[in-house]
Subunit: 251 residues, 8 copies
C-alpha cells in the first residue's frame, strides 16, 4: 500500500458520501503510479518518494531503449540523469533534446531545466588522479541535484600531510565522500579525522592483487574509524545518492 | 596538525607577548592528546573530534587489558562503552565500578553517567529474529549515545507486507539501519520505499552459501535502490556510529 | 496490496451501501495479516499464500524465542514445523505440547494434527551415506506436508550402475531431489536420465577443496543436463519447499 | 541399461521363439541411440528421455561444427535450437535451411517445423531492462517448446509497487522465472508473494562488487522465501528447461 | 550396461538353445552387482572394476552405520579399509572382528586377511613433519593394498639439499607422492628432478594465507614442472589410489 | 648435485691416477648442463631427466624470443615442441626451418624429425565439442611423443549412455585423460567405470558460475571416484605430460 | 606535524625575539610542502622523506594529466620516473623534454639528469622468460635510482640446477628480488639458499588456475623459507622500491 | 652443490696429492649436512646459510616430536626457538632442559645460552591492542636473535596523531614492522612517513568481512606507499626473519 493515509481516508469518505462510485475508488487504489513502456516501467513518482527522479543506468541497455526512456522521463520531469552513458547516446538524444548536456569524464548525460534548491555541502575526496572519473560521477551528480561540492583531489596516504590542511574544509561539509583504489586506506584516515559521515567508494584502480577493487572494498568495510559506510566499487553515483539522502535527512 | 587554528594563533600571540616561553609553546604544539598505557594509547579527545569517546572493541584483548582501559576512560569521560564484551569482563569491572551496565543480547558493557541530548530518531529494522543480537548492538549503542530508536523487527521479504504499514514510522526517522542475513534483500526493499539514508548491516545468519555473511554483504553493496551504504558483517556498532554521524550532520 | 480483488470490491460495496463505516473499511485495508510478538512477526496467512505455514528456522534464535513462536503458531495452525532444532528445544516444547515430534537425524521438530491430502510423489536421492541428514530433512518435510517420498540413497557416481535400475522409480515421481557432496556429479547424471525437474542440494561433505560445499554448489549450477536447479548448501528444507511448489503447480 | 523393460523382455522372447538371432539381439542391446560425427555424438532420442531434442550451446564451437550438428539434427527432428548463436552462424545455416529463424536479442537460432502442444503458462519477470537478453532467451525458448509466456519486465525492488498489480498474473502461471542482476532481491520478493515454483536466474549486470553475477547468485541461493531454486548466471535457457520440466511434471 | 561382452553373448546363446528361460536372462541382465542396506548400497564388485574393494569414508557417518558397512564388506572381501576413522569406531568393530587393526596417525581402520601381491614401489615424500598424518594415510593405504613404500619425510624446500641425495631412491619407484602444505613448492621441485609421475597432495598446514590448503593446492596445480597432477587437500587416500592405478597400469 | 654416482666416482679416480688435473675435475663438477641465452637458459639434458625435451610455453614471450629458443633447441634435439603458439610464430619459424608443423586447433607448433618408440595407449575423452582444443593439445602432444591415442569425444553426462559402449576401449589404454568444462562430472563417472589412472583436465567452457573453469576444477578435485588426479584449467599439455610419465613408469 | 624539531624551535625563537611576526610563523607551520595542480597534488619533498621523488603510475590517468605532472616534476627534480607508460605518452613528452628515455619492455618513461651514487647491489631473478617485463621494471628502476643490478633470468624450479651455480652471485648482493608466475616456488627455493632478504613478486603468467597471479601470490606469502616478503602481482616497481629502502637502511 | 668453492678445490687437491682416498672425497661431496630423525631432518648448518638455526613451527606436530627435535637442536646449537608453542610443550621440555624459557603472549619457547651481537634496531608498530600477540612474536624473536626493538603499540589510523610524534623514533630504526588487522591501513601510512623498509603483517583481528585477515592482507599488498612488503597473516616470526635479513644485509 503506497497511498498516503489521508488520501485513502478521503477516498473512502467520498465513496460513503456518494461522491465517488465503487469502481472509481477501486481503480484508484489499484492503479499504481508508473508508466509502462513494455521493456521498462517508469516510476514517475520516485521524485516524491526518493531523492531522485528515476535515474537511467545505461550499461546493458540499447541506445534505442535509453533514448526512449530518457525522452519519456523528460516529458514528466524537469531534470533527467543517465549514468555511464557514452557519446553514442549523447548524439542520439541531442537530436531530440538539444539542451541535453554531457560530461565525458563523469560519463553523465543530463537535462537540467530547473535548479532545485541547494540542500548543503559535500566534500568529495580522492586518493589519486586515477580515481577522478568516479569522483566526478559523484560530484557532478550532487551538483545536478542542487548540492554544493568541495573537491579535494589526490591526497592519498602515501603523502598524508596533503590532507591535513584540508580538515577545516572537510568539517565544513555535512557529508564526506572518499574515493580510493589500491588499499583504500584514505577512508579510514579521513574517518578518524572528522565526525562527519563518510561514504567510502572503492575503485578498481591498481595492480593485480586489487582484484578489480576487492582490496579497497574489503579495507573500507573493515575501517577501524567509526562513521564510515561503503558503496559499490566505482559507484560514484551511489555515493552521491547516499550523500543527498543524508543532506535531506536534516529537513 | 590537530590543533585548532585559534589555539595555535593564541599560543603564538602569547609567546610574542612574552606570556609564554618558547619551550612551553613548543611542548604544547608537540604534545598530542592521548594517554599512553604501553599496550594501548587512549585518545581522550576523540569525544571532541568524533561522535564517540573511544570505544573498546573487546575481541583479542585480555580481561586485564579491557579492565585497565575501561577504568582509565572512566576517569576521563562520563560515559564509556565496550562492545562484544562477555560476562567475565562484566564481573571484573563491576567490582571496581558498580554502576557499570551490561546487555547480554547486544553484548555491550557500558557506563552511562550523564545523558547527552537526543540528536534525533533512527529506525532499526531486522529481517528475522536471528538478526536481533546485531540489531540490539546498534539500537542500544544509539540509545547510550542519546538518540531515540524505533525498533521494527522480523519484517523480512518472505512476508513483505509486514513492512508496509511501518513506512510512516520509518519516514519519521532521520536515518534507517537495516539488519539482514541470508540474501539481505530487505536493504534494497527499504531503500526503495524511503528517501532516508539507509545503513545496511549484513549478518552471518544463514545456510552454507551465505559464506558467513558474504552473500548479504555483496547483495547490499549491489543494491539497486539508491541511498544505501553498507558496513561490516555483524557490525551493529558500526551502523550506529554512521547513523550518529548522520544525525549530527544536521547541526 | 495483498488483499484479493473480490474482498476489496466487496468491502467498498458494503461501505457504499452503508453496511460498513469508513473506519472499518480503512482499518481492514490497513490491517495486515500477521501477529506481532515484538521480536517476531508471525505470518499466519502464509499457509494460504504459500505452500507452508510459516516455518521456524532455529539457528540464531534462543530456546525461549523458538518456544514462544512455536506455541503461537500452534494456536493458529494444525501443523507446525521447526528446522535445525536441537534436543533442548524438544524438551522445552514437549512440556507444553506433548504431541510434538522430533527426528534427530533430520533435526526437525514438528506438530502434525491433521493430514493434508497427498499432492504427489517426490524422489529423494543421495550420493552417499553422509548426505543422509540433509536428505532426511527434505524427505520428512515432504511427508509432513503430505507428499509421498521415494528414498534412493547411496547411488553416487563412483558406482553409477547402482542408479540405473532405479530409473523407472524416479520417472514415476513428479519431482526429483538430488543430495550430493564432494563433486556433486550425481545431479547432472540424474538430470540426464530423467525428464522430471531435478532440485539439486549440495552438501558440505568432503575433503578440504570442497570448501564447505562450494565445489558441489558450483558443479550443480553448471550442470550440463537440462532441467536442474539448485538450492542452498545443506538446505534439505529448501529443496522440499521447491518440490512442493512443483507438485502444487499441477493444480 | 537405457532400454525400457518391455522392449528387453520382448526382444528376449523373440530370441527364445526363434524370431531373432543371437547377434541381432546382442546388437540391439549394445547399440545405443546416438549418431557419431567424430567431434560430436548426437543424442537423437533425447527428445523422448528429456523435454528437449538435443540443444546446441554455441560458445567454443566453430561455425562449421555448429552447421554440421544443426543440419544433422534437422534431418532427425522437426525442431532444432541453438543458443548463444551469433549472426555469422545464421548466415551459414540459412543458405542450407532457409526456414531457420534468429532472434538477435535472445541470440537464439532455431528451426520450428511443427508446433508441440502448449503445456502451460510461465511468467518471465525481470528486475531491469538490462536483464532483457537473458529473459528473452528464456521466454523464446519456452515459446519454441510450446509453452505460453507472460512477460513482466522492469519490476525491480527499487520501485516494488510496480510488481504488486502483477500478482494475479503471476499466480495464473504454473511456473515463474525471475531474472535479476545487481542484488537479485527480486527472486526473494516474488517467492514471498506467490506459491508457484520460482526459478531464479542471476545476471551479470551491475557495478564491480557484482563480480560478474556472483552477488545475485549468492543472494538467490540464500533466498529467505521458500519455493525458490537457482540456475547458472545469465542462463536463460537453463531456466526455461527447468520450467518446461515443471510443466510436464503435471502429466 | 556393465556386463562384459562375452557374458552377454553366452547368456543369449543359452536362451536360444533353451538352456535358460527368458526370466532368468532378463533378471541376470537387470540384476546389478550391489547389496542394498537401505542407507547404503555396497558395491562388492568394485574390487574387479576398480583397484580397491569399496572403501569407507567415515566423516558424516554414524558409528552404527560404519559398523554395519564394515561387517558386510568383511563378509564378502578378505580385506576392508575405512579412512578418517576415530578410536570410537575401532572399539565397536573390534568387539565383532578382533583382527581389525588401527593406525592412529593415519586414522586408518583396516582388516587385512590376505596379502595381495606387491605391484610396485611408491615414494611418499613430505615437506615437513606436520604433513605426516596425510603422508601416512597414503603410505599405509599403499602397504595394505600390497605396494611397497619408500618414505622420505621432512625435505621441504627451505633446506632443499636434504632432497638431493634421495633422487636415486625416488627414481627407483614407479610413482611419487609429494605431500606439502604452506606454499607446496616441493611438488614442482620433485617434478623437475624426476621423470616419474608425481601425485601432489596439498595439506592444510600453515599460517592464515594458506586458507586451509588453498595456497598449496593452487601452487601444485600451477606446477611449472611437467608430470605432476593433484588430488584433494589432505587426501592421502586419494593419492594412494591414483598411485595404485598407475602401478596396475603396467599390467 | 646432478651428476650420476658413477660419473663422479670415475672422475675422482682419474684425478687420483693423474689422468685429469684438479681444475678439469673441478670444472666438470661445477659446469651444469644448460645453455644460457641471457633471457632464457635452455636445459638440453631435460630429455634425459624428464620425459620431454624442454617445451616452449609461448604466452608472455615475444615472437623473437620464441624463434631464438626454438632454433637453439632444434640444433640440439631431433624434436621440438611449442605450446599455445599462434600463426605469427609459425610464419617466422617456417622461414628458418621449413619442416616445422602447426596444428591450429591444438595450437601446437612442432618439429618432428625422428619417431620415438610408442610407449603405450592413452584414451582422451571429452564431455563436449567445445572441449576439443584442450583435448587436441593433449592428444597431439602424446602422438608427437610417440604414444598412441584413442579419441572419445562428446560423451558428457547429459547423455551418459554414449560413454558406456566405449568402456572396453578405455580399459584397453594404460592411462585416461578426461577433458570437461561446466560441472566436470565426466571425470568422476569415468573414474568409477575404469581402474585405469584418470587425469582430469577442467576447461573454462561454460556459463558465468563456471568462473573460468573453477567449477569443474573443484569438482574434479573432489571426485568421489578413486584413481583421479587433476591438472590445471585448460592444460592439455600438462595432462599429456602426466600420461607419458605414467606410460614410462612401466619400464 | 611534519616539520623537523629544530625548524619549529628556531621559528618560535625568532617569534619570541621579534624577528618574525605571528602570522609569518602561523603560516609557515600551516603551509605544507606540496604543489597543487587541482587534479593532483605534487609532493616535491618526497625525495627527502622517501627514497624516490614522486613516481607517476600511469594507468587511469589521461595523457594530458601525465604530461602535466611529468613536466612539473621535471622543473623541480633532476630525475623523473613514470611507470606503466605507453608509447603515446612518450611521443607527447618527448616534444617538450627531448632527453626523456623509454624502455618498451619495462614500460618505464624516465628523465635522468644526474646520477645518484650507487647504494649497493640487487639480484633480480626470474623463473621464466615470460616474467621479463616485470623483472625489467624492477631492474631498470633500480638502475635509474643508482643501484647496481645482477640479472639472473629463467632459472625456474623445473630445472633447478640452473640456479645453483648462481648462489655466489646472489649472496654477493644486499637484496634479492625473485619474479615468478605459475606456482611461484622459486621464491621459497631462493629464500632457502641465501640469507639475503628476498622480495618476492608474483606474476600473472600461467594457465587458468593461476587466477591472474593469485596462485603465486599465495604461494609466496606461505613461503616455508624465512626472510621472504611479498609485493603486489606484477609490481616490479614495488619490489625495486623495497630493495632500495633495504639498501639505504645500511646508511 | 652446497659446498663452498674453496672446500671443493682443497678436497680435490688433497686427493691428487694422495692425502685423501677416492672414497673419502666421494663421501664428503655426497654427505649432506643434516641429521635424520626419520620423521624430521634437522638442518644444523642452517645457522651458517641462513640467519636462523632451524626454528620449530609447532602446529601439526605432536608434543613428542617437538620435544625430540628441540633436544637434538639443543645439542648442536646454543640457542633454540620454537614458535606457536603451548604450555604443554613447555612442561615437557622443561623437565629435560630447565633453562628453557616461555612467553605466553608471543607463544615462543626458547633456549638462549649465548647472546649473538646486536645487529641493529627494528621498530615494531601495532594498530591496536588485539594485534599484540603477533607483534610480540616478532619483537621477542628479534630480541632472541640479538636485535634491539622499539615497540610502538596502538597507533592505528582511527587516531592517527598518536603516530606522528613517533616518527623520529621510527626513522632511527633500520627496519620497521607494522602489525595491523581490520583494514590494515597503518602499513601504508607508516610507509608514506618513513624511508625505512616496512614489513607489513596482516592480522586476523576484526569483524566478518575481514575474512580472517584477507582484508588487511590485500590492503597491505596494494599499499600506495612505496617500500612496503608483506608476510603471511599473523606471521610475526616471518616478519622478524625478514627484518633480521635486512639488518644483516648491511654487513
Amino acid at each position: 500500500m503506497f497511498m498516503y493515509e489521508q488520501e485513502l481516508h478521503s477516498l473512502l469518505k467520498k465513496l460513503q458520501q456518494g461522491e465517488l462510485e465503487v469502481d472509481d475508488v477501486y481503480n484508484k487504489i489499484k492503479t499504481l503510479p508508473y508508466e509502462d513502456l513494455g521493456f521498462a516501467k517508469l516510476d514517475h513518482h520516485r521524485g516524491l518518494r526518493d531523492n531522485f527522479p528515476e535515474v537511467i543506468f545505461c550499461p546493458g541497455k540499447s541506445v534505442a531503449q535509453i533514448e526512449e526512456i530518457f525522452i519519456r522521463l523528460a516529458e514528466q520531469s524537469a531534470n533527467v540523469l543517465a549514468t555511464r552513458a557514452d557519446e553514442a547516446v549523447l548524439q542520439t538524444i541531442r537530436e531530440k533534446i538539444p539542451q541535453v548536456q554531457y560530461d565525458p569524464l563523469a560519463r553523465l548525460l543530463y537535462l537540467r531545466r530547473n535548479s532545485p534548491p541547494c540542500p548543503g555541502q559535500v566534500a568529495v575526496i580522492t586518493a589519486g588522479t586515477a580515481d577522478l572519473p568516479v569522483a566526478e560521477e559523484a560530484a557532478l551528480t550532487l551538483e545536478i541535484m542542487g548540492a554544493e561540492v568541495t573537491r579535494i583531489y589526490d591526497v592519498g596516504v602515501a603523502g598524508i600531510h596533503r590532507l591535513f590542511d584540508k580538515i577545516t574544509l572537510i568539517n565544513a561539509c555535512q557529508a564526506v565522500i572518499v574515493v580510493a583504489g589500491m588499499e583504500g586506506a584514505l577512508a579510514s584516515v579521513v574517518g578518524g579525522l572528522t565526525s562527519r559521515p563518510v561514504i567510502a567508494v572503492p575503485t578498481s584502480v591498481g595492480y593485480g592483487a586489487s582484484f578489480n577493487g576487492l582490496a579497497p572494498l574489503l579495507a573500507m568495510l573493515n575501517s577501524c574509524a567509526s562513521g564510515v559506510a561503503v558503496v559499490n566499487i566505482d559507484n560514484g553515483f551511489g555515493a552521491a545518492a547516499m550523500a543527498l539522502a543524508i543532506l535531506k535527512a536534516r529537513d
